[in-house]
């Protein structure tokens, strides 16, 4: 069973804003950000802690809705989508990898990877076969029946990656995917993400490790205090 690779999604953000109210004051986590990412690109979103990277990623993931501006993924404006449409978008267009892995502790690795397909109403036999293929692809074919707590950090992140890929997303969003891993394991994960990108999937990765970004990403977006501060088109040689 082979997981079908879809053409990567392009992203268009126009004057994108996301602000939160904290008592009397308003915090602008994402402030008037505009950029575009082409289909199949590997873009690193860099910035210090609290710069708004994760908030921007959540907007693109459809987990949050902008308070201003627009963000379009594969030509569809997420700001205009209903909650039901956003759920469908998250399960069919986007795959997400988190710094904390976010696997369901009560489920085995196989069940975790199978979970997005339950929401997508994939038939049971197909589901099992696709989950196993995804796990083998990330090198976890031998740990399918283990629970997350029985895996190392690197293995958990691999499982998380398999779960993100199992519905063949056009866009892979990774939020500090190596943040909880040692450098060697981090590199292994980054190699996997790079390989996924080379198969056509657009990758947007949040990180604060510039060397890592320089090694894998084809372009950077820098954020500071919620604003775009730099957008070099190419990684320096």
């Amino acid at each position: 069973m082979h997981i079908e690779a879809k053409k990567g999604a392009d992203i268009q953000a126009q004057k994108l804003c996301r602000s939160y109210r904290m008592g009397q004051s308003e915090i602008r986590a994402v402030n008037d950000v505009s950029f575009s990412i082409n289909s199949g690109e590997f873009v690193a979103l860099l910035g210090t802690s609290g710069s708004g990277k994760s908030s921007l990623l959540n907007l693109i993931a459809g987990l949050d809705t902008p308070t201003g501006g627009s963000v379009a993924v594969a030509g569809r404006d997420l700001a205009r989508m209903s909650r039901e449409e956003l759920a469908r978008y998250r399960r069919s267009t986007v795959g997400m990898v988190f710094q904390a892995f976010n696997l369901v502790a009560a489920m085995t690795v196989l069940e975790n990877v199978e979970l997005p397909m339950r929401f997508a109403e994939v038939a049971r036999d197909q589901r099992l076969s696709r989950a196993r293929t995804a796990l083998e692809r990330v090198g976890l074919g031998h740990r399918v029946d283990h629970r997350p707590a029985e895996l190392s950090g690197g293995e958990q992140q691999r499982a998380s990656l398999a779960r993100a890929l199992v519905n063949s997303p056009q866009l892979l969003l990774a939020d500090e995917p190596t943040g909880n891993l040692d450098s060697r394991t981090g590199s292994e994960i980054m190699d996997l993400i790079h390989r996924i990108n080379s198969e056509g999937t657009t990758v947007l990765m949040v990180t604060h490790e510039r060397p890592l970004a320089e090694r894998y990403a084809s372009r950077f977006i820098f954020l500071r205090d919620g604003k775009l501060v730099e957008d070099p088109s190419k990684v320096p040689a």
Binding site: A87, F98, N102, L103, V104, F119, E121
Partner: protein, 481 residues
């Protein structure tokens, strides 16, 4: 998400917090058990009363007569303008053809003297000499000396279906072997007047002596008519004393034919077909003897039995349309049903209180579950679960607790009922005047209904937690630790 996946995920989640979910389920089961116990008591009492009344033969029978007076629509008796319709065999067959009717038989009661075959006692001084009496078969019946005890009794004809009457529950001996068997069942008082040891009468023969009414034919009729100056076109009957030997097959304590299906007390019972064959002179026939048309071939009254008490009213209406008068105890059953409907309602309300408390337990469990699984809900939303998926998942968990709790509760309620039935039976057996019976009854519909009700209550209790889980902001939920 497909239903099967929903059920699988719900079952998995319930297994994860097995202690808490089990306690909640037990709470529901106690509530359901309380509801089942209360309702099954009401149903059991209703069933007990209904079966007792059904066995009394009071509520499934219609007493049909024909006379010059007829009951009008306002309930008042009015004199008929046309001659009354005959209550004869065609009329009986017509009533028996109604689909709701199980049987129609004539109400035959006649006075007779009952005596032991070997030592018959004759007390009626007006009765002919013993030697004048002949058995129906023509054989002379040996009559003994006159006794001092009074044994002049009313004999009643009963159909084979009368075996179901409560009176025959504790009968000594057996019921009639056939509708026309030459057999008799004696009341204990009557039996005691014949023997100091009534049980010894079983299997022995008694002789009944009664007034038989025969239709005289042709020459005999003409001669009799001319002798008494009567018109020759009238039917002429001869009333003669007849003795008939009958085998005692049973002894009963109470009055078997009290109520409509026997109307009055009798000292002995014979099969109704045999009673017809005996051609006894009945009280009504004596009353009608002076009439120009005494309805000579008619029955005194018919008793119509319907399959269910609810069918009494429509069948009564049909019989009234044929021109006959009817009588039933329908109003009494109506009041009884109303009483039990109200009793069931109150018992149901009291039983539901515990279930209402249990539903709060469901809300508490699910709300706690949301707090515990906040991050998990965030993860599910991040990987594609819709608000509806999350809501349905919590609904399924509430529903599963409802179904499990309901099933357990029905079993518990049933067991409580069994224990109480056991205790009640022992108590009733010790109080010797009562027949042991079940006062607790859990019919299938009550069991299934209680599980359904438990599911419904659980789903209602799950409404708020499910809506709250569905509304969770995934970004906030993912940050929760």
């Amino acid at each position: 998400m497909k239903t099967v996946d929903l059920v699988e995920l719900a079952a998995r989640n319930l297994r994860e917090s097995v202690l808490r979910n089990s306690l909640t389920t037990v709470g529901i089961s106690v509530g359901v058990a309380s509801l089942v116990a209360m309702l099954s008591l009401g149903i059991g009492l209703q069933h007990l009363a209904s079966s007792r009344l059904a066995k009394s033969g009071l509520f499934d029978s219609i007493y049909v007569t024909s006379g010059r007076r007829v009951q009008g629509p306002n309930g008042r008796w009015e004199r008929r303008k046309a001659p009354p319709p005959p209550l004869d065999e065609p009329a009986r067959q017509k009533m028996a053809s109604f689909s709701e009717v199980s049987e129609v038989y004539p109400d035959i009661r006649f006075p007779a003297e009952v005596k032991l075959d070997a030592a018959a006692k004759v007390q009626d001084p007006a009765a002919p000499k013993p030697n004048a009496a002949k058995s129906e078969s023509g054989e002379p019946v040996e009559s003994g000396e006159r006794g001092s005890g009074r044994d002049f009794q009313l004999i009643s004809g009963l159909p084979m279906s009368a075996r179901q009457l409560e009176t025959f529950d504790n009968m000594k001996g057996k019921f009639f072997s056939a509708p026309d068997a030459a057999e008799v069942i004696l009341q204990s008082d009557e039996a005691r007047s014949l023997s100091d040891k009534p049980e010894d009468l079983l299997g022995k023969d008694v002789v009944i002596r009664y007034a038989s009414r025969h239709l005289l034919k042709d020459d005999a009729a003409n001669s009799a008519a001319s002798e008494f100056g009567a018109a020759s076109e009238l039917s002429v009957y001869a009333v003669t004393p007849v003795e008939r030997k009958l085998r005692v097959v049973g002894l009963v304590e109470s009055k078997a034919d009290a109520g409509i299906r026997g109307a009055g007390s009798a000292g002995a019972y014979v099969p109704v077909v045999l009673a017809q064959q005996l051609e006894p002179m009945q009280a009504t026939q004596v009353r009608l003897a002076g009439d120009r048309d005494p309805m000579s071939n008619s029955y005194q009254a018919l008793i119509v039995r319907v399959d269910r008490s609810g069918q009494v009213e429509p069948v009564e209406d049909k019989i009234k349309q044929l021109g006959y008068n009817t009588f039933s105890l329908l109003d009494a059953t109506r009041s009884l049903r109303r009483f039990f409907a109200i009793l069931d309602l109150f018992l149901g309300i009291f039983g539901s209180l515990a279930l209402a408390v249990a539903s709060l337990g469901i809300i508490n469990t699910l709300v706690m579950s949301i707090l515990e699984r906040r991050r998990e809900i965030g993860i599910m939303k991040a990987i594609g679960a819709s608000d509806g998926d999350v809501q349905k998942l919590f609904f399924a968990e509430a529903g599963a607790m409802g179904v499990f709790g309901g099933t357990l509760g029905v079993l518990l309620g049933w067991m409580i009922g069994r224990v109480i039935n056991f205790g009640t039976r022992i108590y009733m057996q010790r109080q010797q005047q009562f027949t042991p019976d079940d006062v607790w009854l859990v019919p299938l519909w009550l069991g299934l209904g209680a599980i359904g009700f438990s599911l419904l209550v659980s789903l209602v209790a799950g409404l708020y937690p499910a809506a709250r889980a569905a509304r969770l902001d995934p970004v906030q939920a993912l940050r929760y630790d």
